[in-house]
Symmetry: C2
Subunit: 588 residues, 2 copies
C-alpha cells in the first residue's frame, strides 16, 4: 500500500480560498482561525494521520478486530494511535471550550476528519462516533451527565457509541423494542442492539453508549423512543470507571470492509438490567438523535471523499511506476499514466475528489455559520442550506467514493485484485458509507420528500439561484467551458425539482421512484458548482500573479475536465427521474 | 446465501424466441437442436448448477483454495462437483464430435455457461479455461497433441490453463521473457508465469498448460512468442499421466474474490526445463492465442451476466421477506420490495440481466453462424459482427455485472455488508471480470481503435442500420416508448463513431481518451436493442395468445423500464467522448 500523503494544499484551498471562509472568520467565535492557524492545524493533523494512523490501515484490515472470551481487542497499533490522537487534542477540536473542546470551526474539524478517514477509516470510526456522543451530551445532557461523561468524551479519554439498530429495526428505527424501566432515579435497560460500531474495544478505559429504548407505556413507533446514557463501567464517586454495567458483547461481525472497526452485537440487561440515565425527556429520544443527524451524515459523506483521495493517491503512484506498452505519440516505452484511458480514469478520480472535498467543506462552513452567526435570519438561511445539502453530501459523496475506489482497482489491473496491493481494501471500506447512517435510498427520500417538498422547493430554488449567479461570474471570467455544462445541469435540476413537487401530491410512488436519480442529479450540480467556484478562485489568483501557479493551473484544468466529462451526465437523469413507476410492475 | 434458481425460462426465451435461432437451426450442423432439446439441456444443466455446484459457492469463498507444501488443494466439494460436471458431458457440449465433443451450438453452451458461473464463479473458471485449451488444441494442435491432450480436455478429464502473464508482462503480453529451447523434438521451457487460473489443483489427474514463450533468436515483442503445450505430468506410452514435469507452484494469490479459484504463480524450469511441444509454428503463438480471444472474452462478459443474475435473485428474495417501514400507498407494514426506491433498484438489476443475457446469447449465435453457415459471405458478415461486439460484451457486461452486484448489496442494507449474507461475495467475485482477459480499457481501445477504425466504421454502420430496422419494427408495433429512446441512443452512437473515426488520424490521444465512454455507449445501444427485440417478440406472443402470458407481460414491462431509465444515459456520453484530452494535463 502506498503511503498516505495528507492533501494539505488542496484542503487549504477548499477551506480558505473559496467563498465562505471570510464569513466564517468574521464570526467573533472564530476570530483566531486565521489562514496561518488553519495551515498549522492541517499540517499537524496531516503528520499524525500519515505517520501514526495510516501505517495500521492495511495491517488492521488483515488482522481485523478480535473477539475472544466475550471481549473485543483492537487490531495492533490502534490503541497507541488512539492515545496519540487523544493526547494531541484532536477529539474535541471543534467542540465547546466550556466542555474542554478547542472551539475551532466545524469546517476545520471536517478537514482533519477527511485525513483521519483517508489514513485509516476503520480507526477513524472510533473518534467519529465519540465526537457525536460528545456533541449530543453537550447539547442535550443534564449537568450531571455533562460532568460525568461530557468532558471525558470531548477529550476522547472515553469513547462513545450510538445504539439504534435492532434486528427488526434497521432503517425503521421506530420498530426498536429495547425496554427501559425506571428505578431509583435511573433506568434499567434490556434488549439487543446490533451493528454497534466500536461497541466494545480496549482502546479506552470506558465506553459511553447512547441507547434508544422504550419506557413502560410509551407510544408505538419512533415517538415512543427515549434516549439513555449507558456506560460500560458506571462512574464511581471520583468519576473513574467503577462497577461493570449489565452489558454483554455477544459477537462482532465479519464484514466486507472496515474490518478493524469492531461492529458489535450488544445484549443489554442479561441480568437485572443495564443502568442508564435519561437524556432530555421521555419519548423525545429520536429528536435528540435527529439533532445529531446532520453531523453524522456529513461525516459519512466525508468518508467517501477520504477514501476517494486515498484510492487516487495509490492509483496515481502505481500509474507513474508501472511500465507497460508504448506511448501512442512516439512509440517509446510507456508508464501506464501515459495511456489516455488510464489518464482519463486518474483525472476522473482527481476531479471527483476535489469537487466533493469542496462541497463537504462548504456544508461544514454553513454549519458553522448556522450555529454562530449573529444575525438570526442568516443563521436560519444557512441552516436551510445545510438541511438541503446534507443528504446530497452523504449519498453523492459515498456513492462517488465507491466509484472512485473502483477506478483505483481498475488502474492497478490484475494487481488491483490482489489484497496485498491495498487498492481492493479501499473498495471494500468505501462500500459501507453508502449504507450506514441512513442508506442512500433513505437520503434520496429525505432530499426529495422532506427537504424539497417540505418548503415547496423554496430552499432548492434559493440554491439554484446561487448557482445561476455563479454561472454569470463564470461567463464574465471567460470560463464558458464550465459555465455552459453547469447551466445545463442546473436547468435540468430545476425541471426535475418542479416535476417532483408537482408529482408528490398525486402520485407519491412515482416521485419516490425517481428520488435516487434526483439526488444524483443534485450531487452533480452541487459538486459541479464547487468546481466552478474553484475555477473562478484559481483564475483570480493567476491573474493576481504570485506563488503556486502550477497549483492554480491544475485546478483550472481539473474544473474544465469535471465540466467536460462529469457534468454532462446530469441532463441524462431527467427522463429516469420522471419515469415514475413505469415498468415496476414487472416484479409482480 | 439464497439458493440459486436456474433462470431456464428466460434463457430459453433469449435463445429460442428471438431472431437468430431459426438461422441457427437451419444449419445442418445443428439440425437436432430443437427447442425441446434446448429446454431439456437447460433443465439438466440448471439442476446440476443449482444442486451440485451452487452449494459450494459460499463455503468455497470462506475456505478459499489451499496451498500447502507446494501443492494446491481445491476447496471442499469442488472435486466432487467437478467429477459430476465431467461425467455429465458438460465440458465438451459445443466442441467438435470428432474430438469427443457433443457438437451442440456455442449458443447453448453459452447458456449453460451462465448457469455454471452464476452457481459458483470460482468453480466455473476451471471448465472455462479447460474449454479454451480444448478448443485451441482442436484448432491449432497437431495430430499427436490432439491425441494426447485434445480428448482429455474435451471430456474435462484433464484441465487446461493459459499461461500468458509475467510480472513485467500484463496487458503488454509481448513483454514476456519465458524461454523455450529446442531439444530432441520437444522444447525445454524456463520462466515464471503469474496469475495462472487453476494453475494447480487436485480436481483432475493432469493439467495441460498452454504457455507463451520465446525461442532462441526470436524477435522482440509479441511477434517473437511461440505457444507450447506443457503438461503437469508427461503422458506415458498409454497416454496416462507419467513423469512429473519441471513445473513448480510457487504460491497462490490472496484475492478480493473468486477465492476458491487458485490463482497461481508457476515456475517453469527450475531444473532442466519443463518439457513442452510447439503448437503451430514458431513465433505464431500470439496468433493462436488470438483465435481464442473471442471465446474467452464472451465467457468473461458472461460472468458479468451470471453474477448479476445471482445477485438479483438474492436481493429479490431478501426484499420480499425483509419487513421494514410502511407502504407509501396505505401506510400498512411493508416488506421492502414495496418501497419504490427498492423496487426501482430491483427492476434495474432485472432489466440489466435480461438485456445482457440476450446480448451475450446473440453474439454466441453469431459465433455459431460465423463458424457453420454454408454461405461464405454470411460467415464473413457474422464474423465481422462478432468481432465488433465481443469487446462490448466483455466490458459492458462485466462493468454492469459489478454495478448490479453493488445494487444487490445496497438492497440488503447493513446485512449486505456482512459476509455471511453472501451479497458481498457477488460484488467481490464480479470485480475481476472487468480486469482479466484484457482490462475493460483494453476492450475499449480494441473497439474504438481496431474494430471501428479498422474498416473505417463499416461494421459499426452495418450494425447501426440493423438497429434502425428494429426501431421501425418497434414503431410499427406501437412500442414507441422503446423506439424513441433507442433511436436517440443509436443516433448518439452514430455521431460518436463518426467523431472517433475523424479524430484518430490527427489526434489519437483525444480519440483514445474517449474510448471507454464510447464502449459504454455502444453497450447501452446494444443491450437496449436486445430489449427492443425482446419486447417485439413478447408483443407478438401476446397477440398470438397462448401460454405464459405473465412472462411476456413482464418482459414487455422490463423492456419499457430499460428504455425509460437505462437507455437515456446514452445521450449524455457524447460530450465526454468528444472531450478528448482536455484537462488531462492537470496530472503533470
Amino acid at each position: 500500500m502506498t503511503e498516505y500523503i495528507a492533501p494539505v494544499r488542496d484542503l487549504r484551498f477548499a477551506l480558505c480560498e473559496l467563498d465562505g471562509f471570510e464569513a466564517l472568520r468574521a464570526l467573533p467565535a472564530f476570530a483566531e482561525a486565521t489562514p496561518e492557524l488553519v495551515e498549522q492545524v492541517l499540517d499537524e493533523a496531516g503528520r499524525l494521520a500519515a505517520r501514526e494512523i495510516a501505517p495500521f490501515n492495511r495491517s488492521g484490515d488483515e488482522e481485523g478486530a478480535h473477539f475472544e472470551n466475550g471481549v473485543v481487542r483492537a487490531a495492533e497499533g490502534f490503541a497507541d494511535a488512539y492515545r496519540r490522537f487523544v493526547e494531541g487534542g484532536w477529539a474535541g477540536l471543534d467542540l465547546e471550550p466550556e466542555h474542554g473542546g478547542q472551539g475551532l470551526p466545524r469546517a476545520l474539524a471536517t478537514a482533519t476528519g477527511e485525513m483521519w478517514n483517508a489514513a485509516n477509516m476503520a480507526f477513524a470510526l472510533c473518534p467519529l462516533l465519540t465526537h457525536g456522543a460528545a456533541e449530543l451530551i453537550g447539547r442535550h445532557g443534564n449537568a450531571e451527565q455533562k460532568a460525568l461523561y461530557g468532558e471525558k468524551l470531548v477529550s476522547g479519554e472515553w469513547t462513545g457509541t450510538m445504539c439504534m439498530t435492532e434486528p427488526q429495526a434497521g432503517s425503521d428505527v421506530g420498530a426498536a423494542r429495547t425496554r427501559a424501566r425506571p428505578e431509583n432515579g435511573h433506568y434499567r435497560l434490556s434488549g439487543t442492539k446490533i451493528f454497534i460500531t466500536y461497541g466494545d474495544h480496549d482502546m479506552a478505559e470506558n465506553i459511553v453508549h447512547l441507547v434508544l429504548a422504550r419506557t413502560p407505556g410509551a407510544p408505538e413507533g419512533a415517538r415512543g423512543l427515549s434516549l439513555f446514557v449507558v456506560p460500560k463501567f458506571l462512574p464511581d464517586v471520583d468519576g473513574r470507571p467503577g462497577t461493570r454495567n449489565d452489558i454483554r458483547t455477544v459477537s462482532i461481525e465479519h464484514k466486507l470492509g472496515v474490518r478493524a472497526s469492531p461492529t458489535c452485537t450488544l445484549a443489554f440487561g442479561d441480568g437485572e438490567g443495564a443502568i442508564g440515565t435519561l437524556i432530555g425527556e421521555e419519548n423525545r429520544g429520536i429528536q435528540a438523535m435527529f439533532t445529531m443527524m446532520n453531523s453524522a451524515r456529513l461525516a459519512v459523506g466525508l468518508q467517501g471523499v477520504a477514501i476517494a483521495e486515498r484510492a487516487y493517491q495509490q492509483a496515481l503512484a502505481f500509474a507513474r511506476e508501472r511500465r507497460q506498452g508504448r506511448r501512442l505519440t512516439d512509440g517509446a516505452p510507456a508508464v501506464i499514466i501515459d495511456h489516455p484511458d488510464v489518464r482519463r480514469m486518474l483525472m476522473t478520480m482527481k476531479a471527483h475528489v476535489e469537487a466533493m472535498r469542496a462541497l463537504a467543506l462548504r456544508v461544514a462552513i454553513d454549519i458553522d455559520l448556522a450555529a454562530h452567526h449573529d444575525d438570526a435570519e442568516t443563521r436560519a438561511r444557512r441552516q436551510r442550506r445545510v438541511d438541503l445539502l446534507i443528504p446530497v453530501v452523504k449519498a453523492y459523496c459515498s456513492d462517488t467514493g465507491f466509484a472512485v475506489a473502483s477506478l483505483g482497482v481498475q488502474i492497478h489491473g490484475g494487481m488491483g485484485y490482489i489484497e496485498e496491493t491495498g487498492a481492493a481494501q479501499h473498495l471494500r471500506d468505501a462500500r459501507i458509507a453508502m449504507i450506514y447512517e441512513g442508506t442512500n435510498g433513505i437520503q434520496a427520500l429525505d432530499l426529495a420528500g422532506r427537504k424539497l417538498l417540505g418548503d415547496k422547493g423554496a430552499a432548492a430554488r434559493a440554491y439554484l439561484a446561487d448557482v445561476e449567479v455563479l454561472e454569470e461570474q463564470l461567463g464574465a471570467a471567460g470560463l464558458d467551458a464550465i459555465r455552459a455544462p453547469l447551466a445545463r445541469a442546473r436547468e435540468t435540476l430545476a425541471r426535475a425539482s418542479d416535476w417532483l413537487i408537482e408529482t408528490w401530491a398525486g402520485a407519491p410512488g412515482d416521485a419516490a421512484a425517481g428520488a435516487s436519480d434526483y439526488l444524483r442529479l443534485f450531487g452533480l450540480v452541487a459538486s459541479g458548482a464547487m468546481m466552478g467556484e474553484s475555477a473562478l478562485a484559481a483564475a483570480r489568483r493567476l491573474a493576481e500573479g504570485g506563488a503556486d501557479d502550477a497549483f492554480y493551473h491544475a485546478k483550472l484544468a481539473t474544473a474544465r475536465f469535471h465540466a467536460a466529462t462529469i457534468l454532462p451526465g446530469a441532463t441524462a437523469l431527467l427522463d429516469p427521474i420522471r419515469a415514475g413507476s413505469d415498468g415496476l410492475d414487472a416484479l409482480d
